[in-house]
Amino acid sequence: MESVSTQPHHPAHKSHELSAVTIRFCGDSGDGMQFTGSEFTRVSALAGNDLQTLPDYPAEIRAPVGTLAGVSGFQVQFSSAPVFTPGDAPEVLVAMNPAALKSNLADLVRSGTLILNSGAFTKQNLDKAGYTSNPMEDGSLAAYRVHAIDISKLTATALADTGLSAREIARAKNMFALGLMLWMYSRPMEATVKFLEQKFAKMPDVAAGNVKALKAGYYFGETAEIFTETFVVRAAELPKGTYRSISGNEATALGLVATSELSGLKVFLGTYPITPASDILHELSKHRNFNVNTFQAEDEIAAVCASLGASFGGSLGVTSTSGPGVALMQETISLALTVELPMLVINVQRGGPSTGLPTKTEQADLLQAIFGRNGEAPLPVLAASGPADCFDAVLEAARVAIRHMTPVILLTDGFIANGQEPWKLPEAEQLAKFAPKFRTDPKDYHVYERDPKTLARAWVRPGTPGLEHRIGGLEKHKLTGNVSYDPDNHEEMVRTRAEKVARVADDIAPLSILGPKSGDVLVLGWGSTCGAIQQAVQQLQAKGHSISAVHLRHLNPLPKDLGEILARFKKVVIPELNLGQLQMLVRARYLVDAQGIHKIKGKPFRVSELKSALEGYLS
């Protein structure tokens, strides 16, 4: 992976070309690690790398400075080749204090590079982190390439004459670290300088101080004799196009804006803040110049109710939440599906059960999405497979909701919601439109008359004369929609609702198979595990194994060709960040002895752990 080359503008140091690097910045919550990591990522993206990120911040409360509970981390893998994951294990760990070192060291690869802010390794901080001896001194770091730098002091010295307060100076030390890393990976500083100047436009002193710290770090790298080499990660050969770096929640919000443009409908987001979904609201609420409206309700019940009300009014009602919120919404989702109105419920999954691990990722809400309502209450369930894919997934989910007149649940998760990756921007004009046809003709209108193909009933906008009608949650006559207690009618309606959702599968594109169409092992996945699965499978294929992968966007109904594909493989293995939820569905449906790889640690799969688990299924 590593090839020596020379870099003209860093004559003093050897510069190695690398195809991919994984760095993790970690420090106290107050150390600005998320900011540092994001900015490093942005610069890498601008340099044309493919990349993925994994922010990992602690619980929502700011723990006392220096404690293990307060450690915040940000990992990014950037590469000249396509990147599928934020990297299994960092090769470079920047640790701003002992607590950060302690809770992150185990992940660093052997012989990895460790950059420590030695100034933070005080007795007090060591105690807080639970160290009984100083790891910088006790030999426990012998396996790594350790660079202990007193970043605190160097920053303080650099900013001594800026007139900034001690606190402001202390806060600037992350820019020193960033500068050092930019230098190490042969990145220009201009973009960051400009960004800092904009960000602190109202505080020019602070801006100048941060720029100074950044440069100090950069020049420290160049000057100090500590580092003997820098690295270059060339631009990735990504498909041609315009790119931006995007997180899943941002992509979701942009998907909603695009939905409104493409459908011609007002998009009404009724929601209630909850980690890790809140950023969808934060982002969408900025775009009020579009035909979108955001409403922070009093709770999740009101949130989904308001969006159903909006759908009744002829807008597309959307709600965004996480698992505990979905629990509260199910009664209303059930109403939506029985009155057969389109609605979009976005669940950014997090660690459960109950409050669980709000800031951590998991895929354990799939069965809740499919089965979590009373009665026979089917609806389509989709999942996004990566940060940028959230945009496409929203469009697809909205299309299904409108075409089939049904609420749809879209599953994303904390990993892709907060993680970033480069996104090849679609051409806005080439996105397919999917405007609904509202019924306006009063002749022979029956509220529950159905489209013979999709079984969808007609959508009528209040305000349309002659089509006044009433809907509700009681069972209704199959044609008129009037309340009906007739036994046969009920059975017919139950079966029709099931069939209507089943017919969503008529429109699902054939599944694409990564690898041969038949063979020993098929790895079936869904959601955010896509990147890790694909990389693991490709690596195993490269080793000559008979293994292929299929990744599902549609979890309910399942694609029509899935059964046939499964039958062509000797074994089916389903990796999931849960105890086997898709696995159960596949076993029940296809009577295939599908096996599962399960991880429930609040973290995404590592490629390496997937690979070794899959190897167990290969002869």
């Binding site: 110049n289 109710c305 909006a310 009014g313 996105l431």
Partner: protein, 337 residues
């Protein structure tokens, strides 16, 4: 807006084809009749009106109105109506609810709609009982009430719906009863006219599970002496002018104007005053005080959908109309060619 010959609408136009299915003698019939009678006056086309309800006997109401209607789930009508109104400010949206629906399971949405001043016309049919589920105590049932769920009497003190609404910041609060259709019609008119959340408590008789709950003061021969009609700009007098009310240190006090045993100046009623007086009046209850009916509060305040629309306009002015291509390519982008 659609072209309709609104002036020709009649009561009949607001009757749907569904058979009305309340118990014979239920107060809900009276309310339905008054609403259907009053609607044509508003000059609003049927298609621009929506009735949203929760679950309960009262909540069957939308089925009987030949407008757009949504019989939703228990307690959630205000929340659903909020989304409807926010996304369709052009519609007139009515909410029909019961004392259990609005104040028990739906209490949270009820107070939040009022604080936001969402432009909904809320009719609360208060029969102080759960009708549909056959007779359990509701949050307006009196302390000690024996009902199916409380064979030894409820130990929960009731809400005063007017209190709760005023405490939540309601901009319009009024009260009437099914025993007085003429007054009810007047109140319905006022509700329709109010800009913002308009809350009308309608004392409604459930003949089956809580018969005659309000008779002691709503009966025809009791009204004059046991109710006080709040009328804008008029003195607070009742019992044929022989009695009056004033506020002393914030608290209501009955004046005996005829005998002169408790003399004083009756307060001049002002529904547009700050909220405290309305609150004080709403504490009046039989038997020590006359029961208030009429408009307790009617003030102009920023209306939710109007704030929302002007905010959207302002954002559009500032950022320009939304352009998807521009939005997608905003921020830091790079090009690979």
């Amino acid at each position: 807006m659609t072209e309709t010959v609104q002036s020709k609408l009649t009561r009949k136009d607001f009757q749907s084809d569904q058979e009305v299915r309340w118990c014979p003698g239920c107060g809900d019939y009276v309310i339905l009749a008054q609403v259907q009678k009053m609607m044509p006056e508003l000059g609003i086309a049927r298609e621009n009106i929506a009735f949203v309800s929760g679950i309960g006997c009262s909540s069957r109401f939308p089925y009987y109105m030949n407008t757009y209607g949504f019989h939703t789930i228990h307690g959630r009508a205000p929340a659903i109506a909020t989304g409807l109104k926010a996304s369709r400010p052009d519609l007139q949206v009515w909410v029909v609810t019961g004392d259990g629906d609005a104040l028990s399971i739906g209490g949270n949405h009820f107070i939040h709609v009022l604080r936001r001043n969402v432009d909904l016309k809320i009719l609360l049919f208060n029969n102080r009982i759960y009708g549909l589920t056959k007779g359990q105590a509701s949050p307006t049932s009196e302390l000690g009430k024996k009902a199916k769920s409380t064979p030894y009497g409820t130990i929960d003190a009731p809400f005063n719906p007017m209190h709760l609404a005023l405490g939540a910041g309601a901009t319009f609060v009024a009260r009437t009863s099914d025993a007085d259709p003429v007054h009810m019609t007047e109140m319905l008119r006022r509700v329709a006219q109010h800009k913002g959340s308009a809350f009308l408590e309608i004392l409604q008789n459930c003949v089956v599970f809580n018969d005659a709950a309000f008779e002691s003061f709503t009966a025809k021969d009791m009204r004059a002496s046991r109710q006080i009609y709040l009328e804008q700009g008029k003195p607070l007098v009742y019992a044929g002018g022989t009695k009056g009310l004033r506020l002393v240190d914030g608290h209501p006090e009955v004046l005996d104007l005829a005998s002169g045993k408790a003399p004083g100046e009756p307060m001049i009623w002002n529904e547009q005053a700050e909220v405290s007086a309305a609150f004080a009046l709403s504490t009046c209850a039989a038997p020590d005080f006359p029961e208030p009916v009429g408009v307790l509060r009617a003030v102009d305040a920023p209306v939710h959908h109007i704030l929302q629309e002007s905010q959207s306009d302002a954002v559009r002015k500032k950022l320009g109309a939304g352009n998807l291509a521009k939005l997608l390519t905003s921020g830091d982008t790079w090009t690979i060619s």
